[in-house]
């Protein structure tokens, strides 16, 4: 993955830039020492690293605005950062950029149960948003597996999802408003406690814009009353086709589970060795979870297990109590860790039409043979959001490149069957060069035109999302103007 060469003119600005940033921020909020900037050299896509020119940690929207205004005036690129858990390299700096981290902005500003929303500063972690309201019986629905660490700001930028989005939707469906600062320092209030936009739906386009349109400093989030209870059921099948059919039949039957998770044999085996959750050794395993009162749960599970039985499961296990429920989820929740025990891995998240599941899994198996790299599949089956985990050895020369080539082939396959490159992790740098496989040049041009409007100088996170060749004229126009 290539990054643009740093602009020497910007590198030379460092002393003056640091001095100006120190005028508007607390002394410990401007990090410019080379040893310390290393802390911001990468996100969770750790294969790519580069320390930034400097990092700033503002505490208020006003400070964010001051920082952006200064960088705008001086022509310095800015990379916004939440908690740095992006798997796509979204928060990866370039040597000539300023990392703008919102980690110090983590207050709850308003809790309103009558209208069912919270307003928080954007650096607050996902889980601690729920933490602020759960004692009163509410929760914030989008639940990425990284929820202990990841920030609302990163969730908004990536439009993150989670295991329960089949029922509750992803970030964009639960976001009511933002305070956002444009690159020139303008502060913008969009949406709020009311339910729809007065004019164009800017909120919709900002969510998922990967930190390229503005820096989000505050967010109004929809909260929901907690369901009375939840219970999972586990089922094992001896073919992916049959498991895929079960998913489709459950959906067609009119029950709407909160989650339908799928694991294939390599993943089941790795997980068993690691977590000993007691999973059956079979080709495909499904975990289906439903919510409600005890009675409601039984009613839904009766229907679901009926469907499951019709397809001759090798195993069908309903959780009778809390402990059994925990054990059913245990393996699924440790799947990433388990694969990590075997080797380094790369996690992709292409999405496909549900009906294509068996075909795509078969093709991934064949490609795994060709590339000579193992792959385990664990994913959100209800919405077709795959998560192939490709195993490789980072210390072995050539393995990373082989892994990336394999990954790219899987993603092209997702597009080919009518799906997309990424369902929840975002494009970042990782899938940037594959965008041409999903979009025609004009489709990319109209997206870049949106960035032209919000950030005419292309200073915000400029080397992401769009293939470098496609964005080059726009980025170069800026450099030429300096």
């Amino acid at each position: 993955m290539e990054m643009p060469a740093p602009n020497p003119a910007v590198l030379a600005l460092k002393p003056r830039l640091v001095a100006r940033l120190q005028e508007v921020l607390a002394p410990d909020a401007v990090i410019h020492d080379e040893a310390e900037t290393r802390a911001y050299e990468c996100d969770a896509l750790t294969a790519y690293r580069c320390p930034p020119l400097c990092a700033v940690l503002p505490s208020t929207t006003q400070q964010v605005s001051d920082v952006l205004r200064i960088c705008h005036e001086m022509g310095v690129p800015v990379v916004p950062r939440g908690s740095g858990t992006s798997l796509a390299g979204g928060a990866l700096p370039t040597a000539d950029s300023v990392i703008l981290g919102v980690a110090r902005m983590n207050d709850v500003l308003e809790v309103d149960y009558d209208n069912r929303f919270v307003r928080v500063q954007s650096g607050r972690t996902n889980l601690s948003v729920t933490g602020a309201v759960e004692a009163d019986g509410f929760f914030y629905a989008p639940d990425p597996s990284s929820q202990l660490a990841c920030a609302i700001s990163g969730n908004i930028a990536m439009n993150s999802g989670g295991a329960h989005c089949l029922k509750y939707g992803v970030t964009t469906n639960n976001l009511l408003g933002v305070t956002m600062v444009l690159m020139d320092g303008t502060v913008l209030e969009l949406g709020g406690a009311h339910m729809d936009a007065p004019g164009l739906d800017f909120l919709g386009v900002i969510c998922g814009s990967e930190g390229q349109l503005g820096v989000v400093t505050e967010a109004t989030l929809r909260i929901l009353p907690k369901p009375e209870g939840a219970r999972p059921v586990l089922m094992g099948y001896d073919s992916n086709e049959v498991a895929g059919q079960v998913v489709s039949d459950i959906i067609k039957a009119g029950v709407l589970p909160v989650a339908i998770e799928f694991m294939d044999r390599p993943c089941i085996r790795a997980t068993e060795a690691f977590a000993k959750a007691g999973y059956p050794d079979c080709e495909a395993l499904l975990i289906v979870e439903v919510e409600g009162s005890d009675d409601e749960i039984s009613e839904q599970l009766a229907l679901i297990t009926d469907i499951a039985r019709r397809h001759n499961p090798v195993e069908l296990r309903e959780a009778a109590d809390e402990d059994q429920a925990r054990r059913i989820w245990l393996g699924r929740k440790s799947a990433f860790g388990a694969m990590g025990q075997i080797n380094d891995y790369m996690c992709l998240d292409g999405t496909i039409p549900v009906s294509q599941l068996p075909y795509v899994l078969r093709r991934i198996g064949e490609m795994s043979q060709q590339y000579g790299l193992g792959v385990g599949n664990v994913f959100h089956a209800g919405d077709g959001n795959m998560h192939p985990l490709i195993l490789f050895d980072a210390n072995k020369p050539g393995d990373l490149e082989r892994c990336e080539a394999f990954g790219a082939d899987i993603l092209r396959l997702c597009v080919e069957v009518g799906g997309c490159l990424t369902g929840e992790h975002g494009v970042g740098i990782e899938k940037r060069d594959l965008m041409v496989d999903q979009f025609a040049p004009d489709d990319l041009d109209i997206q870049m035109a949106v960035k032209d409007v919000f950030d005419p100088k292309w200073l915000l996170n400029p080397a992401k999302v769009f293939p470098l060749a496609a964005s080059e004229p726009r980025r170069q126009a800026q450099i030429a103007a300096e």
């Binding site: 009558d114 019986g137 990536m158 999802g161 939707g169 992803v170 964009t172 469906n173 969009l190 406690a193 009311h194 339910m195 729809d196 936009a197 004019g199 164009l200 739906d201 909120l203 919709g204 386009v205 969510c207 998922g208 814009s209 009353p225 009375e228 489709s248 067609k252 039957a253 009119g254 029950v255 709407l256 409600g292 009162s293 009675d295 409601e296 009613e299 229907l303 999405t351 039409p353 549900v354 009906s355 209800g382 959001n385 009518g418 799906g419 997309c420 990424t422 929840e424 992790h425 494009v427 979009f439 025609a440 004009d442 489709d443 109209i446 997206q447 035109a449 949106v450 409007v453 999302v465």
Partner: protein, 377 residues
Amino acid sequence: MHPTSEADLADAIATAKGALRIQGGATRDIGAPVIGTALSTQGLDGIVDYEPGALTLVARAGTPLAQIEAALAAEGQRLPFEPMDHRPVLGTKGTPTIGGVVAANVSGPRRVQVGACRDFLLGARFVDGAGRVLKNGGRVMKNVTGYDLVKLMAGSFGTLGVITEVSFKVLPIPETQVTLAFSGHDPARAVAAMAAALSSPFEVSGAAWVQGQTLLRLEGMERSVAYRVGALAERLKPYGQAEHIQGTAAGAIWQTVRDAHALVGCETLWRVSLKPSDAPAFLAAVDPDHQLKCQIDWGGGLIWLGAESAENAADTHASLRGEIASRGGHVTLLKAPTALRTSLAVFQPEPPAAAALARALRQRFDPKAILNPGLMG
């Protein structure tokens, strides 16, 4: 103009000499009046792909809404966001199209639980003002590949592009529904009761106040609904004894809420979007003597207001805009004689920074300024 293919439509736009008035079924005469050549999308019709097992449907923009709803119903599914039929209340004729639903982001009572039209829109194809055929999103349920222009197109009223094809996430029609109806509520009591209901775990899928009655809808499987109806009625005891309305009778009630039947015949009509708990004070301030017809939906978040005559419309309009300014939210003038829709700002004017972005975006999407120019202000 009546193109029958996307390519013809693109050609018509690329070679257009002046303003175009984009029409689906010509049923939603919303926004500032547009003067221009009519461009109909009705020639682009038909369902392209429907996979019930994947809960996804793709259709061309000119497809009649009724055709889509029938196809879904045959598989026991539906458009979850419950698009309203504007014809009764606007006094229009014609056949509503799915493209018009999307262009106006039309959403009904279930919005309070499941979201708006834009939340179910997975992808769109459209032609921009330069005549380029563009696509964004797709037909899968989760997609963060590139910017989400799909949401931007929803509710853009044809001012950014002419939509040619849309794809949706759909949902199963639940087995049964029951509505709890409380009588004798004023707006304050109604909004309090609705807040209590919506803050409960019982999954209320409609919360409206019409003609003194507070209506709460529960949908789902038989036993589940029976349980939740009991639990909810118990929780809402302080708001009175509720009448239980079942099955088709409940369905009929929600259709009248969805289509704002209480305001049929009004010459002037406003739609107010605000923080739900603000609704009672807002109403008390703008209509202390109950001169206007009123319906509350979305637990308080949506107020419909109507006046039988257009006589004092300009004054009422000013007072609504004044009152909302101090609270947050917005007011749309949905129906009024053409002269008024020309002289008054139909859509709430945006704050300067947002307005500047909107102008710049339109300039990029529609450089010749020919797509419904001026409709959104």
